[in-house]
Point group: C2
Amino acid sequence: MSLVQLESFVAVAEEGHVGRAAQRLHLSQPPLTRRIRSLEEELGLELFERTPRGMRLRPAGERLLPRARRILAQVDALPELLRHPQDAEGRDEPWSEPSS
Amino acid sequence: MSLVQLESFVAVAEEGHVGRAAQRLHLSQPPLTRRIRSLEEELGLELFERTPRGMRLRPAGERLLPRARRILAQVDALPELLRHPQDAEGRDEPWSEPSS
DNA sequence: CGGTGCGATGCCGAAACGGTATTGGACCTC
DNA sequence: GAGGTCCAATACCGTTTCGGCATCGCACCG
């Protein structure tokens, strides 16, 4: 499992369409489809239900979404955190969940 | 930044030697050296001090270590969490920090 | 029934990655 | 202080991975 896969999953979950999510990720549709499928294969379960209209989250996907978002947020916060020594060690992260 | 980079960083930080960490990751030394350097380049700061004995953590590396460990732990926990619907949504993660 | 919009797949060129071999530098020993 | 040792760093190369283009298959719609 990679961060790229998690990021791809979140994008598709939020957009509901592989094509649109690909656009948002500055990527074409086929590689994004492959990322999602490889993630599902790796987990051994289907995160999305394929409808003629696009992609709808399955229960497992619903459970994954908030956790994936949080992990990505923590990773995004790393560079800033490493550059500011005044953040004491006990303080650690505030887990700022994006309000979305 | 990728999970592989974070995993590599943690291994080197814990072992204090690139060579030994590579062994632990079932990898040879050169690619592991490259992973660490690419992570440092990407962050624009040095995580380790190179000594003739091996690698010693710099302050930025010290700050990264616990956060990297936590992120990796969260990722490792994902497959299990997705497979068990009885985990209610409000319960989210307990952030079980390894006792190390 | 022809058109449309969606994800899935085949194919190919480019980029990323890992391993072997080697280098360069600091220490330690005699 | 010369030779040996133990590190990480680099050069090079073969393999694998990855992305884009083109196309397919399918369900719905008019």
